[in-house]
Symmetry: C2
Subunit: 756 residues, 2 copies
Amino acid sequence: MSLQLLKALIYQSRARGLIYHLHIATWSEHIASRAHSNLFFCTTSSHAAASPTQPRTWGSKKQNRSVKLRAKAEDFIMSNPEIEAQLAPLRERVQEQGNLVKSLKETGAAELDVKKAVAELKARKKMLEDKELALTPSVVSFDRAKMEDLLKRRFFYDQSFAIYGGITGQYDFGPMGCALKSNILSLWRQYFALEEQMLEVDCSILTPEPVLKASGHVERFADLMVKDVKTGECFRLDHLIKQALEKLLKAKDATPALRAECEDIITKLDGLSKQELADVLAKYSIKSPLTGNDLTEPIEFNLMFATQIGPTGLVKGFLRPETAQGIFVNFKRLLEFNQGKLPFAVAQIGNSFRNEISPRSGLIRVREFTMAEIEHFCDPTQKDHPKFGNVKDEKMTLYSACNQMDGKSATQFAIGAAVSAKLVANETLGYYMARIQQFLLAIGIKPECLRFRQHMSNEMAHYACDCWDAEILTSYGWVECVGCADRSAYDLGQHTAATGVRLVAEKRLPAPKTVEVSEIVPNKQALGKTFKKDAKTITEALAKLSLEEISRAEQELNANGQYKLILADGNTHELAKDTISVKHSSKTVHVEEFIPSVVEPSFGIGRIMYALLEHSFQCREGDDQRCYFTLPPLVAPLKCSILPLSNNAEFQPFTQKLSSFLTKAELSHKVDDSSGSIGRRYARTDEIAIPYGITVDFDTLKEPHTVTLRDRNSMKQVRVGLEKVVGVVKDLATARTSWEQVVAQYPVFEQQEATK
Amino acid sequence: MSLQLLKALIYQSRARGLIYHLHIATWSEHIASRAHSNLFFCTTSSHAAASPTQPRTWGSKKQNRSVKLRAKAEDFIMSNPEIEAQLAPLRERVQEQGNLVKSLKETGAAELDVKKAVAELKARKKMLEDKELALTPSVVSFDRAKMEDLLKRRFFYDQSFAIYGGITGQYDFGPMGCALKSNILSLWRQYFALEEQMLEVDCSILTPEPVLKASGHVERFADLMVKDVKTGECFRLDHLIKQALEKLLKAKDATPALRAECEDIITKLDGLSKQELADVLAKYSIKSPLTGNDLTEPIEFNLMFATQIGPTGLVKGFLRPETAQGIFVNFKRLLEFNQGKLPFAVAQIGNSFRNEISPRSGLIRVREFTMAEIEHFCDPTQKDHPKFGNVKDEKMTLYSACNQMDGKSATQFAIGAAVSAKLVANETLGYYMARIQQFLLAIGIKPECLRFRQHMSNEMAHYACDCWDAEILTSYGWVECVGCADRSAYDLGQHTAATGVRLVAEKRLPAPKTVEVSEIVPNKQALGKTFKKDAKTITEALAKLSLEEISRAEQELNANGQYKLILADGNTHELAKDTISVKHSSKTVHVEEFIPSVVEPSFGIGRIMYALLEHSFQCREGDDQRCYFTLPPLVAPLKCSILPLSNNAEFQPFTQKLSSFLTKAELSHKVDDSSGSIGRRYARTDEIAIPYGITVDFDTLKEPHTVTLRDRNSMKQVRVGLEKVVGVVKDLATARTSWEQVVAQYPVFEQQEATK
């Protein structure tokens, strides 16, 4: 049963060797790369209980629990003993390495050793996953080149500025692509912004440098590259090394030892440091693949597009690499809009930019892309969710960090069970994961091609508590399309530190409490006399001192009669006893301030669209040339076509009338009154995924006027009254009825469809 | 009657002197500045008959017609004799100058003289317009500061990155601003994309340099500025001069002669050349207003944001200054999508960027803005429109170029009459003007504050046939919000010339015709032998030769036995008789190629939004502090509020039920169960323009359950059954019913609303 499900998910093309082993962009790179502390290891294990005060540790207690979890869960893969036999040794190798990583961490091994072990772990995981996919019998055929040809021919999307030679990594969406995207976004708004009463905002794309310094993007949002010393041509370093070593591997004269070495480096590439990569370059004397020229040392290339704001050339700005920062910097205004109450969620749809060194893989790795992001702000001690009960039974395929470490497969859980078992950190995170799944399935993603993969602790930014990526299986492999992370208080904390504006919320204390307050009271007159124009700066600096610094000042004043104030710019001032004094008092407080936690679901719209197109691409049985997309009516670019049987003038008033009825009903549609057989025109509308077609024929001319209504997927037709058909299409397009119900209600129309 | 209308449009604030005389950004700068040939004068008068073959000329025949037109039209202004008496001398001065401009053009005067005369004409027009506005009695009070305070306080929109000090000319839209914008755009899609079955596209923002070179933006999309030689601070030159001369004017010791001189320069500023402006700078020794330092010579500052695409630093790109170019470069794909048929229209909504030297005037002059543009492609000889009949009776306020030249006011026309009289160049242009008006009125722009102003021939790009701006009256004066231009074949022609890709359409000839074809036939073998690797380039160059060049080649070959081919890169090759020959033949053609014309309506969404907010801002009679927006339900950010009368726990289930009903009905809403009196909460919902409010009170608890429904504008309430109320709100929000109808149907609820 579960194997049946899995069977459907593997594309024959993979077996045919059509799948290129590209370095697939991780969506989490888009979203987690901000301030991602490179392979920082916290003691927190991502699949154990999350508590902000008690870091989770690897240990036997936890292991027992996870065994229990696995026993409860449905198991996908292991049901076929033959396949499992072949996978077993690979699983063991992963588990062995997983255990090594765990023990290295437990014994506090050097970071570099842990890093290397993790790189090896990832490599073994990849081999296991590739084998799993290769062994699973495939039942669906998929021809990517054929689909891409159709997408281009009917201008769903295509390379931008093609008549000028084009720019890689940029795409223009034509009428069908644009409508599909716009329908997906409008459903997204309904599913998230409207349903959850989120605050939707629309912030600037151009972002000044200090904002992205605080977020960590200026420092860390970079890829390594090398340049051809003569031509200046740039290569992304990991891609280049992989390509060069693969060439070495395949050379006839390659020794087994060399081959093993190359394979080893390739599998570990992701985990190598800048220096290690430079050493590989040197060892194998890798040159420019285009010219054979020497290459520079590895250079960190920041992936943000830089520009200047205003005419002076002095205000540096970037095109935002994500929309989230616009929400964080507006936190105060948004909290106030929400009348100071937590939790609340903010949504934003917009374009982001990423100056890829060498973009490829079509819509999956691009320079300009649309994101839909949500920032859910909540009290860090209250991460339950009032609507969690609505989704707790949602069955989800979870690929936990634990399973990844142990060489196991993804398993199915009800999200309620996963949260109860602390596999998923909290209800809020779990709620969003379930809603993400519901949304993806509603637009037409195949359930068997969707999984949620948990970040392993080494993948996760150090401040994050838990992070799950919705990954969708495509001909490029599993592609991260939605990230869902509990980012704790990191982002608001960073902007608070950078600006001095306290991005905090308040909550009422269970009981009022008395707190001691110490402050430095400046003697303004004396300060002014002594420090003249510096007095203002000094007064401001004194107001910002921390409690510790105030008590140090008090000690110094008592001991030496003066206090040495160090300003932020490094200047110091000696403040004598007559200029300042320290005052102590106590006050009763009823509320306390805290920095809210944020849970962030982040959707890559282009990637979701691409996956959806793959999942819905079909060819008619027995006619390889007649391809179509089975996009659900809710997101299909156009809802209906109107086709007069021929160019007989008598059909025209009916065509026009139908078109105006459809417009009034807000149903996007297309009239195709060109010549060409009706079958050929059906085929053309199928290509652009129009789910329903109305045909005006000779029977339409008779009273009572009727038309035929055709379903794209089944190619079946029914005969419906002219006045009724628009209502039927409206109900179908808004999912208020199904085609099966329509067939049950109206007479089937049996005329053979001409296919050529 | 018409004066009544006009009365409503003038804001008291203008009389109060609240209006700053800013240089208001012209929306046409955004859209017409591309490739705008500076003050180019064609012999075409923009208000006479447009024919691509017969240029229109100024003359007595036309003048007779325009007199007739004016006699037919309703006249706004002249109905008040007192006002008219004061305006008469100003009107005469405009007309006098208008006649001078005409005669200069007719006699073929030097361009500089015409330019100066036009600058003076504009200045006189401005004085007339200012006087007109100042004299008209105002009945509506408007306090911009109060509205801006509300917009900021309830976060409709606010300066971006404010916690980092902010960036001028960039705004973030908060929840209410974002929802308003999104509702306006969705109505726009319905009015244009859906209703006219346009092809909507979504193209890249990052644009490589060659595209914007071809469009004219690299060369001409610039403003003049000067820099402080020491600090590098930049000033927009016209703003700076105006400021400096106004200071001189107001100095106590200014002589009448100096005053007159300054006034004269200020009024003519727009028309002065770079050199003339530099002369003004020098003559009055204008320094930096901030530091008193010297200033540089005027510099042309290109208003596009530049960046590099890819890591090499070699591919220069810009953030698009308009969305239109994305449509033009995709013309071939779009024509093909439309099965080769003209006319068709393409729509695009997206962000554009403009690096203003010193942005101001809030949302009116910004660095990042959303546009909605349409490019309607048609046969230049067939500019009639099949749906023109639907709009021909639409009454519009047209401010023709002729009236502007003659010192007359805007007049009212039915658009059908305006097109018949050739005041508006063609049906397609007229159709879009009428649809633009219908759209603006539907979202809530006041009809009396809307006019269409025709570009005078000197304002119009030289290739354009006719151009009308929809201008909306705001406290900043008349602001261009939508441009509507017949741009002829210019854009497609430019990209064809730059790329060699023929952006053309075909049409069937009335009868087949025979044409002579000449071509150069290369002898591949001989060419290859002689020119080796250059042979390919030569063959390609030969294929692109024009007919004239081919006949020149034939002559040279006959005369000298060889032909000197000049390549695009300047290299030349001597081609001997054995390498090429000229072949003549004749063929019958059934179709001819042509470059389509384009009619372009271009909407500045931020400007429209700002004007709409001004037009809908109100304060309650007798309570200056209780302000609200009368936004129509169709575009209001939220459609409904739910307010329990108090925090009585019994109300909660009803509140929740209503909220979930509203969500199911896709009605955005806000539950306000905070403490605070019901009147105060109504006032809060009024501030964010929520048109309807449902209150759960003690009567709700009784069976049959009922609630009250309140109308924001009238503050009246009715009592409606709990099960029915969501349907009523849905009908109101989608304009299927009106509040008047609701009041007629349900019992009025009379309880006094607490206001404090």
